[in-house]
């Protein structure tokens, strides 16, 4: 790419924005935005708490303690205890490990082929792109949660099924977004310039189109991540996820239904954990999007 850049500038065509510069600008924008900072702080601290859960000296999330059933929140058990005397705080934090990990794996699992297919659809001939996009249209024509339920029905329950099911739901969405971005990147002058200079096609795609797409796509991914978290909770609430006793945010909520009359705290806290992490991701995603695309700023 290096010779191409020097040549294009000598012909008066603006060079592609250097990546370092652009990220620098985005970073400066972000630092100014307190909401995005709050959002990332929430997400990072929840992730750290989830990772560190075994090191925090909490009560076991699965060990029964019948003598301590339905203790309301207070010192000793900040979030109270559940119907089997297990510490709710510990279950929420250990549940975070399963829920966040499942959502992260879903995002990676869908994003890798999704971005690849999107770029391919963006740069290839009308026929290949047509085939890819019609297949994605088909996947998009199922109502999202039902598609996930159907896939889970075929594969059986468990975290693995949820990851595959939600991956199938988000794959076409990621492909569409990426293709759209790729098309707009290809129309840029610096891509045309590189093309005119005879840069090989694959090189053009890998070195110029892909990196310039990624920044926009990553923002969209962070917003999808928030949706995936909600969907993962919903599916595991329906009993499609990890079977008990392993806690997930969804299955704690499922169990809590029976005890909402006497022990509403069992239902309250895991929901707060879901809402907080989704809020963090939304704050972060919105702010990064605004920082990267000044036109969208309102």
């Amino acid at each position: 790419m290096a010779p191409a850049v020097s040549l294009t500038t000598s012909h008066g065509i603006p060079p592609p924005p250097r990546r370092v510069e652009r990220w620098g600008r985005v970073w400066r924008q972000l630092r100014r935005n307190r909401l995005s900072l709050a959002g990332s702080l929430i997400v990072v601290s929840l992730l750290l708490l989830a990772l560190a859960a075994p090191l925090l000296g909490l009560a076991s999330p699965v060990k029964l303690n019948i003598g301590q059933r339905f203790l309301s929140p207070g010192p000793g058990h900040w979030f109270g205890t559940d119907q089997l005397g297990r510490d709710v705080l510990s279950r929420v934090l250990f549940g975070a490990r399963v829920s966040l990990m499942a959502s992260l794996l879903t995002m990676f699992g869908a994003a890798l082929p999704g971005v690849l297919l999107g770029i391919v659809a963006g740069v290839s001939s009308a026929r290949i792109s047509g085939i890819i996009m019609r297949l994605m249209d088909l996947l998009m024509s199922f109502p999202p949660l039902l598609l996930a339920v159907a896939v889970a029905a075929a594969l059986g329950t468990g975290t693995r099924s949820i990851i595959i099911a939600l991956g199938v739901v988000y794959l076409p969405r990621i492909v569409r977004v990426t293709r759209g971005v790729a098309l707009s990147v290809i129309a840029q002058e610096y891509v045309m310039a590189a093309q005119a200079l005879g840069s090989p096609r694959w090189r053009l795609v890998v070195r110029t189109v892909l990196p310039n797409c990624l920044s926009v796509v990553v923002v969209q991914l962070s917003l999808y991540f928030a949706e995936v978290l909600l969907a993962e909770a919903a599916l595991s609430f329906l009993g499609l996820g990890e079977p008990p006793p392993t806690p997930t945010w969804g299955n704690i909520l499922y169990d809590s239904q029976k005890y909402i009359r006497n022990a509403p705290w069992i239902a309250f806290f895991p929901g707060c954990a879901i809402a907080l992490s989704v809020l963090g991701l939304n704050l972060f995603g919105d702010a990064v999007r605004d920082a990267m695309d000044p036109r969208l700023r309102t």
Partner: protein
Amino acid sequence: MPPLLRNILTRVVALVPILFGLSIASFALVHVIPGDPALVMLGGEGTPQQVVELRKQLGLDRPLHIRYLEWLGRVVRGDLGESLYNKTRVVDELIWRFPTTLSLVCLALLISVLIGVPAGLLSAVYRNSWVDHVARLLTLVSLSLPSFWLGLMLIILFSLKLNLLPIVGYTSVVTDLWSGLRFLILPSCALGTYLTALLARLVRSSVLEVLGQDYIRTARAKGLRERVVLFRHALRNALIPAVTVMGINMGILLGGSAVIETLFVLPGVGQLVITALYNRDLPVIQGLILYISVLYVLINLVVDLLYTYLDPRLRFG
């Protein structure tokens, strides 16, 4: 041919491959899944004889394409198969349950329009005031709440603590409007909150965009009252994208209703999907997925056409 008619025809023709694809995908759900469908349905608990019988009932002993064509033939004639679990016909279950889901989804949609649109409008008109800040904060929080958790919290608050509403149960709004609404209000609030927030956010940004247009300046310049400018010129144009978002989200509501119906024990289509899932009742799941997806595609078509109708630039373009 007038452009509008041609537009409708093109869309309807484009629907054919999608419907075809949907039918193949729904069929594949039962017949191409890894492992023997009969074994999957019996959950590994069946005797060899049961497995053989079920295989025969599902037609697994015949070639795949023949099975698909036979199944398609029955589906086109309105036969979505029958439950393995209690032998009821899927179509009968649908006819019985659909009104519940429809009334839930419609009420959720109504709530989101009644709250989301004014909230977005106020937010845009009083941009950067405290009204705007509060509305945007509420929007952001509402977008982050899991609907089923919100439902649980609403039950705790309104049914258990305040004793205002029944916890679970169902009466059709057709037989008894008041009592039906009492059962539906909490579920539809839980279901509609996300869409309310989405609409509020969308209306805000599109009103802001429209308010910057030349024709608004013209309208103000010729001395129209602000109310007329706002409602007749700004809001009307700003609502066009909202129609699309609502259409797309009908599908999300239809799917999301499964979770809410399960939580509130409402006898709707979504609850049937989940019950069938627990029972590994694949024919029922297959029939329902096909039915709801076709419905979803048709709704999207209607919304697209409505969109063209609402925006004269597209109608005559």
